[in-house]
């Protein structure tokens, strides 16, 4: 470091030097911080506050203004304006008085675990294959990334089309091999299955690309050394590939879990909650509370706070496990 070579003798000089650097850094960070502060942190606190009120479409106005004869306006406090109701929303939601939180919670867990599991295992399998040298490797890689470039709502429509019970290709093929067509959206778990298939299709390329990058950063000498020592392919995979992938895989699994947990369009468009709301996950449940029927903003905010707390607990626990295994995240 050149700075060390001309190390300042006085503290003041060092302080000024650091201030100069910080000044530039802050100028570069400030736009992002401002936008995030105004549009993420402030709404977050407002949302947390709303979850303790009974705010909905009918009582959101704080004042009611009426035009008076003189052309002026007469504003009075809205007598029915939203009030602070303490933890009522939480109690209602968790005891099932309003909405069906626990059904949606179970669905969310099934949905997240199965999606992330298949994303990761399929992504890993494909990445390991693509990391070998053979003809046509680049070609396969491009084609396998294609689903990533398809917007989520478009792939949702595409798969809903394929799974259509009366004329969808999948049922047609099933009856072609002598299996009865399935009324996919009439049962909770077949309906869930269609959404999971769609999301796995959509999410594998991201995992594959991330893991492929991770594989390529593993020094090749390790494999050669292991081979000289007579390690079998499986041993090489277990003892070199998997540990080498740790930094990448721990990050993508954490992010993947968070993203899948909050994945909105797939469930919303593929199953639409069919049959009768039995395949809603928490995010879509919250959305329906906020924007369908009588818009219940406070209930949606309550959902949001619960989702956020679960994810934070998960992330903290995940980080702790990684740290216990000697991984600094």
């Amino acid at each position: 470091m050149s700075a060390a070579a001309v190390a300042p003798t006085r503290d003041q000089g060092r302080f000024r030097r650091s201030f100069d650097k910080n000044w530039y850094a802050w100028v570069m960070v400030v736009p992002t911080v401002l936008v995030l502060g105004v549009l993420v942190l402030y709404p977050l606190f407002q949302g947390i506050y709303q979850s303790f009120t009974n705010l909905n479409e009918g009582n959101k106005q704080e004042v009611i203004c009426t035009k008076t004869l003189g052309g002026g306006e007469d504003c009075r406090d809205n007598p029915k304006k939203s009030q602070f109701v303490g933890v009522d929303n939480y109690v209602d939601l968790l005891t099932g008085t309003r909405g069906s939180f626990w059904l949606q919670f179970t669905n969310t867990i099934v949905w997240t675990v199965s999606c992330v599991f298949f994303h990761f295992t399929i992504g890993l399998g494909l990445a390991v294959m693509l990391n070998r040298r053979f003809k046509g490797r680049a070609f396969y890689r491009v084609l396998l990334i294609v689903p990533w470039a398809v917007p989520a709502f478009v792939s949702a429509f595409a798969w809903k089309f394929l799974f259509n019970p009366s004329f969808g290709l999948i049922n047609t093929m099933l009856s072609g091999v002598g299996i009865d067509p399935v009324a996919w959206f009439d049962y909770r778990w077949t309906s869930m299955f269609t959404a999971i298939v769609t999301n796995v299709w959509l999410g594998v390329p991201f995992m594959m690309v991330a893991i492929l990058g991770g594989l390529q950063s593993i020094p090749h000498d390790l494999y050669e050394a292991a081979e000289i020592d007579g390690a079998s392919p499986w041993q090489r995979f277990r003892n070199i590939t998997m540990p080498g992938l740790r930094p990448v895989s721990s990050t993508v699994i954490l992010l993947g879990t968070i993203w899948t947990f909050n994945m909105f369009p797939i469930i919303f468009f593929v199953t639409g909650g069919q049959p009768a709301g039995q395949t809603e996950i928490l995010v879509t449940g919250a959305y329906r509370a906020a924007f369908e029927g009588l818009r219940n903003y406070s209930l949606a905010a309550t959902y949001g706070v619960l989702i956020l707390s679960m994810l934070m607990v998960y992330a903290a626990a995940y980080r702790r496990v990684l740290r216990a295994q000697g991984e600094v995240f």
Partner: protein, 305 residues
């Protein structure tokens, strides 16, 4: 003084930070594979490729079918191919307007998103300023915020600013979604560019902004390509904010507009299939230009997480 960096030092640095993807030779094979293993490898990959492409291909084939033969239960790949569905989507619906709106929103999100995340990522990578660690955490935690908790307060803010039903509201909202992840990823990428380059530029009298603009950004092209791809797709495929914020027919983006082809009980598959194909085209173009950088660009970000 005006002479910036010796071109040589840039050249020397470049191969170091290019990811192994671009190296002409993939890892040396340990042993030649047997023919059987080779066949199994190709068979698996071909199978995976078919699954990856098939839904898109099938939607495309269906979009060429006349309206009444899309919904048959017979498998026919081509059935009186016609462009009638495309003609109807393009001339009988508001699809072109929605399309244009989406292009504008996505391009602005991409430009603003890249600018914000590149500067923030660079500052996080190079400078040790107070609050840096906290900021990194905020970036990660924002990934956890469900749309559900933010959407109502953001809606309120936007309506106070008079931005409801405008493209600006969506661009701002999408930037908040995409920037934290991109800044995080780009920081990892900038970390792989040797610091000596910054120092050399500083010795030549180039200020921090000049260094960033003329030295670092050109070297970070793969990382920026991933950012472009990611921000574009975030804006192009988003639905929840679009449905909530946009209200009039002329301002809708594709995600919100396409809802009109899906009435609850009778989806208009002829319009949906043709529309879907048209929606995929711009994404495919962006993908085409960025795909060769995807592996290298994402890696650095992932490993340095």
């Amino acid at each position: 003084m005006t002479e910036m960096l010796p071109a040589q030092s840039l050249d020397r640095a470049a191969p170091e930070e290019t990811s192994p993807t671009f190296s002409p030779e993939p890892p040396k094979p340990r042993r030649e594979r047997s023919t059987g293993a080779s066949i199994a490898l190709h068979a698996t990959l071909i199978g995976a490729t078919i699954i990856a492409l098939f839904p898109v291909v099938w939607v495309f084939l269906s979009s060429l079918k006349p309206r009444n033969s899309i919904q048959t239960s017979e498998i026919t790949f081509l059935d009186n191919p016609t462009l009638e569905n495309y003609r109807r989507v393009l001339f009988d619906t508001s699809f072109p307007t929605w399309f244009l709106n989406s292009v504008i929103v996505a391009l602005f999100t991409m430009a603003i998103g890249i600018a914000m995340s590149a500067t923030a990522g660079y500052a996080l990578s190079r400078f040790n300023f107070p609050g840096k660690r906290g900021l990194m955490w905020v970036f990660l935690i924002t990934q956890m915020f469900p749309v559900a908790i933010l959407i109502v307060p953001i809606y309120t803010i936007m309506s106070r600013l008079g931005l409801i039903d405008t493209k600006a509201s969506l661009i701002i909202a999408y930037c908040t979604v995409a920037v934290p992840f991109c800044a995080w990823m780009l920081r990892g990428y900038f970390d792989t560019i040797p610091k000596e380059l910054d120092e050399a530029a500083a010795l030549d009298g180039v200020g921090p902004f000049g260094t960033f603009w003329r030295v670092i950004l050109p070297l970070a092209r793969p990382g920026l390509a991933v950012t472009a791809f990611y921000t574009f797709l975030t804006a192009w495929g988003e639905v929840a904010y679009a449905i909530a914020f946009l209200q009039t027919e002329e301002t809708l983006t594709l995600g919100a507009g396409l809802q009109q082809f899906v009435p609850r009980f009778n989806p208009q598959w002829d319009l949906l299939t043709a529309g879907s194909i048209l929606i995929m085209l711009p994404a495919a173009i962006v993908f085409f230009f960025t795909q060769k950088h995807l592996v290298g660009g994402l890696t650095a970000g992932g490993t340095k997480g």
